[in-house]
Subunit: 193 residues, 2 copies
């Protein structure tokens, strides 16, 4: 299972969040630009000041942050734990792959939208540049295994590698994956073929 | 990492729950016996009708079920996700090992108790009989690795084996572990040395 050690990667834990289109931002907030709260580690990406409420059939989750830059389509990323709470059944998807995904109601301070699709559980992945891919000996769309040492050790199998020179070296996991392995932000994880 | 396949084990997912002492039950519910709602898979264990509220410094979780039989000491088992919500820092422990663990306030319909210790994140483990241990080729307190196949495959390392003829063959994990691997109750997992 862990055939060959390729290198270490720092982890970034994604809490539930929303990527928003300009059209939807205008309905929810009555404005056309996001307000930068703080930059994320991936270049040009940021956490916005703007937060929304995700409204499920019976229960809602308030205070869900929007991440920028803006996108062509609004996309909601939640954990499996969130999906049970909201009673929504999203698929495990790569970011942007929204065909056939369920929708949700999103509420902002100025209005509400009903997405007919866009809710996903994001597939874990590693961002890296071409130079880093060369050092790891992998290429875009490869899958690797990632060992998490610690008090509750775990191996994440079938982890997607995404190579682009606009990226910075970082593995993205969600809160369920983080909490299963007692993982904290910026922890170094071990990548294996 | 996965050296030798030993056999399959069905999984039971533990949601947050409380094991209660008779003294504490009397304070919370004004009675001396639990009411059986439904039996659990482990012999003589059951989910009770009685539910309580866990009260953290800022936030609470309602509707937390008590599991029977009664114990000598009250013990609260929560997930890491719950621990962030409640703002409590429990350690990863085997059931019953409560020395040095944090306390919590528990509220019932008839009263409230302040535990000075007893909150844990339960260490995952596999229950089996001596005959089953013989078939798996393991003994009490061994550790094994468990492969979870599926859409989000994962390997749980360092899984404790507990052997007792009062047990039934079952692996216990918490909701964070289940949701990280898209695991459902009664799914068969693969045990390796």
């Amino acid at each position: 299972m862990l055939k060959e050690y390729l290198g270490d990667v720092p982890v970034g834990i994604s809490n539930r969040h929303v990527h928003i289109s300009q059209k939807d931002l205008e309905v929810l907030f009555g404005r056309s630009e996001l307000t930068v709260m703080k930059p994320l580690f991936q270049p040009d990406q940021f956490a916005a000041e703007e937060k929304v409420t995700l409204v499920g059939p019976k229960r809602s989750i308030e205070g869900v942050r929007i991440l920028g830059q803006m996108r062509n389509s609004t996309q909601v990323e939640i954990s499996r734990t969130d999906s049970y709470f909201l009673e929504i059944e999203p698929a495990l998807r790569n970011s942007g792959d929204l065909e056939g995904t369920p929708g949700i109601i999103i509420r902002g301070p100025k209005g509400e939208i009903t997405l007919d699709r866009g809710v996903i559980i994001a597939r874990r992945h590693i961002h890296m540049t071409e130079a880093e891919a060369g050092q790891f000996g992998v290429k875009d769309q490869d899958v690797v295994n990632v060992l998490v040492k610690g008090e509750r050790p775990v191996i994440f199998c079938d982890v997607l590698v995404r190579v682009n020179n606009d990226y910075a070296l970082e593995m993205h996991i969600d809160t369920d994956e983080a909490n299963s392995g007692f993982i904290v932000n910026w922890q170094q994880l071990k990548v294996y073929r």
